[in-house]
């Protein structure tokens, strides 16, 4: 505990010292050190470290570390919302709406529609069969080695891309919001997430996510009330004024009145976000089915006691996430109305000062001044921390529980050593996250989140669905079919414009669509089916014979593992 306090003091000191540096040096005069934001963020950090300390005293067993000893469906729903609503969606979607209007909502809806799929097909059975990781369920009746190895590899891939996107985004964001250097920002994020997971395990991670979700929802709600008060609490008036503003902006660029009016009205309908229908559907399916295969989300189902609480978790998560996306829609339009003509927020060319993602930050300043800007900045930072902590925990559990305890030690590992392995892994992951954040600083990482979703949709999702719902699925089918899906998704992404053209510099992409899911998901299902059907090995007979018992337990919850049990 004492070392924890010292670590906290060190991190805070680091923040203060470099903040002061930047202020004196004036190197980042464009975004001066925001003391309100730093003070509020320091408050958040102290609170979460205190929670981590309390959680650390109660984290003794492997089960404590992975599940946090059990929370309710309502709490878990909030934590899932906290895990899922990244800073990228808060800042990115509002900015997209600020720039293009309606299109931001298409993104938001894609992120939401995966939740019912998780609820209908996976959540309850997952809870009834599993203990710590989704691989417990995917490998339930199969030979542990191959299926767990696949699941762990797939988890690491998904988490790596998701994490890189979050870390780079975090570094840039904090640089802008707090006036801290990129390196310091990355180190603070990586260090804090390491402390949460290392000492507090799932219990601390859950509460960091819950607190963050509450802060984010409250902050966004206050902002929306500010926007609505500005337009007399009429959505129609908000949209009408946004159209008028966009028309005026278009007039300013020298368009004739008719064209300018059309440009203004265009924000109320879909624009250039969706180009060809194949890309649109493919991208939509990646978001929808990927949600059902995200390891850090699936892991959260093991924090509640039973299937009933698992399904309640989803209803609450969906409600909060849907509410949050509705708020971002209003905030984007609010930003159009309230910051478009203010030279403090927008430069002469109409670009947002401080970078493309800052629309909602300027809106916060326009509504509530420096204090509120500070609050929203701190919320954005908290948001990043909560997401990366969840990702780290799921990667650590894949290595310690799936690879170390289940594959290497055939399920007979000493629990104390398993716990130690997960903590060592957490430290290594924290270091890896910081290094990756630095390596990818100047790269375009925007596609990595959608790549993570595509990989989850093409690997984890088909394996999980077929192992849960199809009696014919075998070890070979699950392990190799899942791998084929994963590799297809990765390969098609490399051949697509975002890497083949943008990174490798080829003139034309081999695979012309923006997301592989529409192809890689069916390929994964077909591969698992074909390999299972053709599987005549003795193990296949065992796998098929195990289905009725697995099904019975997944339906009834007999023998369910209680997260609070030691």
């Amino acid at each position: 505990m004492r070392s924890l306090g010292r670590a906290a003091a060190l991190i805070l000191l680091l923040g203060w010292a470099t903040g002061a540096d930047a202020a004196i040096g004036g190197a980042v005069a464009r975004q001066p050190t925001n003391w309100t934001a730093i003070a509020m963020f320091a408050g958040f950090v102290l609170l979460t470290l205190w929670i981590t300390g309390a959680a650390a005293r109660r984290t003794r067993s492997v089960s404590d570390f992975y599940t946090g000893g059990g929370i309710t469906g309502f709490q878990n729903g909030l934590a899932m919302a906290g895990d899922y609503c990244s800073a990228a969606s808060f800042l990115g979607i509002t900015s997209q709406i600020f720039n293009d209007g309606y299109d931001g909502l298409i993104y938001a809806i894609g992120f939401l529609v995966g939740w019912p799929i998780v609820l209908f097909l996976i959540a309850e059975k997952l809870r009834n069969l599993g203990r710590f990781t989704f691989a417990d369920v995917a490998s339930y009746r199969f030979l542990q080695g191959p299926v767990r190895s696949f699941s762990a590899a797939s988890t690491l891939f998904v988490v790596a891309f998701y994490l890189i996107a979050q870390m780079v985004g975090a570094g840039q964001l904090i640089q802008l919001l707090f006036g801290l250097p990129y390196l310091v920002a990355i180190t603070v994020v990586g260090g804090l997430m390491m402390v949460y997971v290392l000492f507090g395990g799932m219990r601390a991670t859950s509460w960091v996510q819950i607190i963050k979700a509450v802060l984010l929802l409250l902050g966004a709600t206050f902002l929306v009330l500010g926007v609505l008060a500005h337009v007399g609490f009429s959505l129609e008036a908000l949209f009408a004024r946004a159209v008028a503003v966009k028309t005026q902006v278009a007039l300013g660029t020298g368009l004739d009145p008719a064209e300018a009016a059309a440009r203004g009205r265009a924000i109320m309908g879909p624009g250039g976000f969706i180009k060809d229908p194949v890309s649109a559907l493919s991208f939509g399916f990646a978001l929808m089915l990927g949600t059902a295969g995200l390891p850090h989300i699936l892991m959260r189902f093991f924090t509640v006691p039973d299937a009933r609480e698992a399904r309640k978790s989803i209803l609450w998560a969906t409600t909060w996430i849907g509410y949050f996306y509705a708020l971002t829609f209003i905030l984007g339009f609010g930003a159009i109305v309230m910051i478009s003509f203010n030279p403090a927020y927008v430069d002469a060319s109409g670009a947002i000062r401080g970078g493309n993602n800052m629309a909602v930050m300027h809106l916060a300043h326009a509504i509530g001044g420096n204090l509120f800007l500070g609050f929203i900045s701190a919320v954005a930072f908290a948001t990043i921390l909560a997401v990366v902590a969840g990702l780290t925990l799921s990667a650590a559990s894949a290595i310690s529980h799936d690879v170390y305890a289940s594959v290497l030690h055939k399920g007979a590992a000493d629990p104390a050593r398993e716990l130690r392995v997960s903590r060592i892994t957490t430290i290594l992951l924290g270091i890896a996250a910081i290094v990756l954040g630095i390596v990818f600083e100047k790269q375009n990482v925007a596609f990595m989140v959608s790549l993570a979703f595509a990989l989850a949709a093409s690997g984890n999702f088909p394996v999980l669905v077929l192992s849960l719902l199809w009696s014919g699925c075998t070890t070979r089918g699950a392990a190799w079919g899942g791998t084929i899906g994963l590799v297809t998704a990765l390969g098609l992404t490399i051949l697509s414009p975002v890497i083949w053209v943008a990174v490798f510099g080829f003139e034309r992409a081999v695979f012309p669509y923006s997301s592989p899911a529409l192809f890689s998901v069916p390929i994964a299902f077909a591969a698992i089916w074909l390999l299972s059907v053709l599987d005549r090995s003795p193990r296949a007979a065992v796998d098929r014979a195990g289905y009725p018992a697995q099904r019975l337990r997944s339906e009834t919850g007999l023998g369910v593992h209680d997260p609070a049990a030691h």
């Binding site: 809806i109 939401l112 209908f120 339930y140 129609e236 949209f239 929808m288 019975l552 339906e555 007999l558």
Partner: protein, 107 residues
């Protein structure tokens, strides 16, 4: 799969053979797949509308509010609503039937 509790195979066999069990599994599975189909079809239709008929989506319904905005809002609300439909059915119907089944075969 290492399991802390020894599986009571006799009891599980009794459950598996019980008509209440087979009916529960069949009904729940049918309902889950139906709702999954609704979700996938409605979402695909929404994306297809955007992809194929942008002018239709941009048509104003009242004032500046377009069909796209109304359908988008309906997607957000509908997604939450379809989850609520399932949870309500599961909390009342399925949970009660499962409890009745477990009572019948002896807890």
């Amino acid at each position: 799969m290492q399991s802390p509790d020894a599986p009571d195979t006799q009891r599980e066999a009794r459950i598996a053979a019980d008509p209440l069990y087979t009916a529960l599994v069949r009904d729940r599975q049918r309902f889950s797949w139906a709702l999954t189909a609704v979700t996938v079809i409605v979402y695909s239709a929404f994306i297809s509308l955007i992809a194929f008929d942008k002018p239709f989506m941009a048509r104003p319904l009242f004032g500046t509010i377009t069909i796209a905005v109304v359908l988008g809002a309906a997607m957000l609300v509908g997604t939450i609503a379809i989850c609520a439909v399932y949870v309500r059915r599961a909390n009342t119907d399925y949970d009660a039937r499962l409890a009745a089944l477990l009572d019948k075969v002896g807890r």
